[in-house]
């Protein structure tokens, strides 16, 4: 435990430093998020065409959802899958496997460190901007325990989901084509770009069975009060189900892959 705690501390420090090495790069990436927020806000204003409500959602709520979802995306961002597939492809995975810590555990620590960096550098500044610019004005936000539980669930789900696909790379060596297709589906069905409640009924029903909505839509909908009461419990159960599923799958893949792995390169 002490090893993991020390490891987490030093990883957080390194991730943060790494992010701040190149100043111009840092400022440009801040700018890019600002531009994205501004574009999406303009888009929703245009789509509402002066109406105050569409499908029972006010423009103010919609704008709030947009801004919060971008911040949430920064919080939940995970590059475990990319990190593993890249290392398998160029063979540097062998260096990760000669460490005195289990590889999946190492990856989780790295992910925590990454999130620490994201929260300090991105999430906190943006939350301040949201409050200062009044994006949350006139919107009733729910910040109770159910929201935090769903955010934590989404975070863990995202990690094990990516870990699972990363582990598949041990078998297949190359799955980037498949992953691109999957990400396109994810962009639509996670509700991070367009809220799921605007979907046609059948697509909405389909989205409920996919894991993607449990990563973005569930916590965000709870936050802005779109899901309430007993619906929260069932949404969290679905999320928990996916979480356990991907946890099991990733563990299984990891055990198996250690035995049949081929390492690239000399």
């Amino acid at each position: 435990m002490k090893q993991l705690w020390d490891y987490l501390k030093v990883s957080c420090k390194i991730e943060l430093e790494n992010q701040l090495v190149f100043r111009s790069n840092f400022f440009v990436s801040i700018l890019s998020v600002v531009i994205r927020v501004a574009m999406l806000l303009a888009l929703w204003s245009a789509l509402y065409q002066g109406k105050t409500q569409v499908d029972g959602i006010s423009l103010a709520t919609m704008k709030c959802y947009t801004v919060v979802s971008i911040v949430f995306e920064l919080f939940i961002a995970c590059n475990v899958e990319q990190s593993v597939t890249g290392k398998v492809k160029d063979g540097s995975i062998s260096m990760m496997l000669t460490r005195p810590a289990s590889y999946p555990v190492t990856l989780f620590i790295e992910q925590l460190a990454n999130t620490f960096q994201a929260v300090v550098v991105w999430v906190i500044p943006y939350l301040l901007v949201i409050l200062l610019c009044g994006f949350a004005r006139g919107v009733q936000l729910y910040l109770g325990p159910w929201f935090w539980a769903s955010a934590l669930g989404a975070y863990l789900l995202m990690f094990f989901y990516q870990l699972f696909f990363g582990m598949i790379a041990f078998w297949t060596q190359e799955i980037s084509g498949f992953l691109q297709a999957r990400d396109a589906v994810m962009l639509v069905f996670s509700g991070s770009m367009v809220p799921l409640w605007f979907f046609p009924e059948k697509l909405f029903a389909l989205a409920q069975y996919l894991p993607f909505q449990a990563m973005y839509s569930v916590p965000l909908s709870i936050l802005i009060g779109k899901i309430t009461g007993p619906d929260i419990r069932s949404a969290l159960l679905v999320q928990l189900g996916w979480l356990l599923g991907f946890w099991l799958l990733s563990q299984l893949c990891w055990r198996k892959s250690r035995r049949r792995m081929i390492v690239n390169g000399g």
Partner: protein, 324 residues
Amino acid sequence: MNPILSAEHLTKRFTVVVGRKGLAGAVGNLFAPTKREIMAVNDISFSVEEGEIVGFLGPNGAGKSTTIKMLTGILTPTSGSAEAAGLVPYQRPRENARNIGVVFGQRSRLWWNLPVQDSFEYTKALYQIPEGVFRENLSYFSENFGVSEIMTKPVRTLSLGQKMRTEIAMAMLHNPRILYLDEPTIGLDVVGKNELHQLIRRINADRWVTILLLTHDVLDIERLCRRVMIIDKGSMIWHGGIEELKRAKGMEKHYHVLYESPCDPIQEPFIQVVQAEGQRHHYLCTEDVPMEVILPRILAVGKVVDFTVNDPPLDQVMRRIYTE
């Protein structure tokens, strides 16, 4: 004494998909891949004593890397077994990792954009190196190998030589008993190579660390190892001392003789006369003929003023072994 590193009939087979040629073949591969078994490592046995530096050689694709991956616990052998510092590496890879240091010349463990000290601290946390041991090792490497002046420099600004020294220092921070060096001198210039050779010899002597050195560079072997293992196509083709290797495999010996006055060259079936102009004679013997047979013949044809015997250079020996 028990060996610190050993392998018994170590074997690794892989199943690979055989790529077929052309578009039709590529499409065919998608649906009905042709599989083939390849024998990457075939029945290798050896042992290494504590404190030795052993060279591990072989042409590209000979199975060196696969062997090392089994010894370091990354891959599980198909059959046979290995033991490193009292552990079976692939059964307990994490415990094994504490006993070994691994340096790959072509891959870095350092954080590219950050000062060297950050990478060291990272290693300290990961390996749970006690503060005292960490400080001691840090001062050892600072004093001996000039690591102190580069501690605050970002890794990307280091020269290749500095980087390799730093990599080795980092791999030694947790006091491993076995150090695996995979092409540590790759890309270094003469000075850099020389410095690295000194460093490796020094840590071997001071720390009593056992070193397995994978390399293509014959100079590394000549400077550092007393014993080599050579594998090709997955099998061990030579295992023993370098001098014995030269004797057994490099039978080409050159004799340069300076006689007091011009004389006729030796006439023997086992000696080739490369040059015999006046007093200077150059003979070549490609068979394993003992010195006591050749020497009298050389002395018989004239009065000798100067005489040198050249052993075959190691790279020539290697070339011969690889092409045999």
